[in-house]
Symmetry: C2
């Protein structure tokens, strides 16, 4: 362990935590497993993050940033003349085809807020940011309902081990849009 004075230490620990959650789930997250994944000594993780909750907050925040960046870059959404329901259904398809593991990881972090109040502001921020992305295309209430339906569809697929049906999603999203 000769790597002293690493200015990006904290960030690398967060990345390692995300990888650990991706492979072993939140249940497998510990100071030691993160330290091993980040290749830093145990004391380093406990120094930067006093509790695992702090580490989870940082991980969810970073995960949200990655996610919303990917969403913003999705050109389908930006085309103002495209069918919104069609675009959102295609976006969901991209999430699923982009490796189910990544989607599971992001949802696991997001859903962790259910039992961890410190994560709830971060989760709320996520829905707000996403709703804002849709703001130009619909009213706020419809935007929130679209997000809720997308969440529900994703979860139904992920929780039951089913497959994603883009045409079905498109149809139901269109009904919300009206």
């Amino acid at each position: 362990m000769v790597r002293r004075y690493d200015p990006e230490r904290r960030g690398r620990i967060i990345d390692a935590a995300i990888r650990v959650v991706g492979t072993k789930g939140i249940a497998g997250l510990s100071h030691r497993s993160v330290a091993a994944e980040a290749d830093v000594p145990l004391g380093s993780t406990t120094y930067h993050f006093a509790s695992l909750d702090e580490l989870l907050v940082a991980a969810l925040r970073r995960s949200n940033e990655n996610f919303s960046r990917a969403m913003r870059e999705s050109e389908a959404l930006l085309a103002p003349d495209a069918d919104l329901a069609e675009a959102l259904a295609r976006l969901l398809g991209e999430w699923f085809s982009g490796g189910r593991g990544r989607l599971e990881l992001e949802y696991e972090l997001y859903l962790a807020a259910l039992r961890r109040p410190v994560l709830q502001p971060v989760a709320a921020e996520w829905t707000d940011v996403t709703a804002e992305l849709l703001a130009g295309r619909t009213d706020p209430a419809t935007a929130r309902a679209l997000i809720a339906l997308m969440d529900g569809i994703c979860l139904q697929v992920l929780l039951t081990g089913g497959t994603y049906d883009a045409a079905y999603a498109r149809e139901m999203l269109a009904r919300i849009i009206g």
Copy 2:
């Protein structure tokens, strides 16, 4: 520990597991915590349930039974002349007013299927049963979308610490029904 030959031992362990998840979350579920809650020795829980996953399967199954019984007994749903969107929105309201803790517990067990493949058949069974309850009122695809939207709305409230808006839910459910 004189209580020998308890024919309902297994069932009481499942109930204890549900109570433990309710108070301490799945993270707090262990053979020992369940044994203490059920007032049985450690060896008894490991005898009836070789792994915690087995115990979780039993707990989710029982939780589903309780839930679907409550749903079936909801008279609002059974009235064939009532507005379906209105009835479902009111049902959601009942879930929230019935103590947020119970709703959290049921969702935590349900969402645990995300990372535990053994729970996925049970989760799938749950959505199937619920969809069947709605079968008399709409087509299967619409029923599944209604469930997805209800899940999404519930989660948005639970994950962000927000409050449930019945009118909003009613409006969006009605759009799905068309």
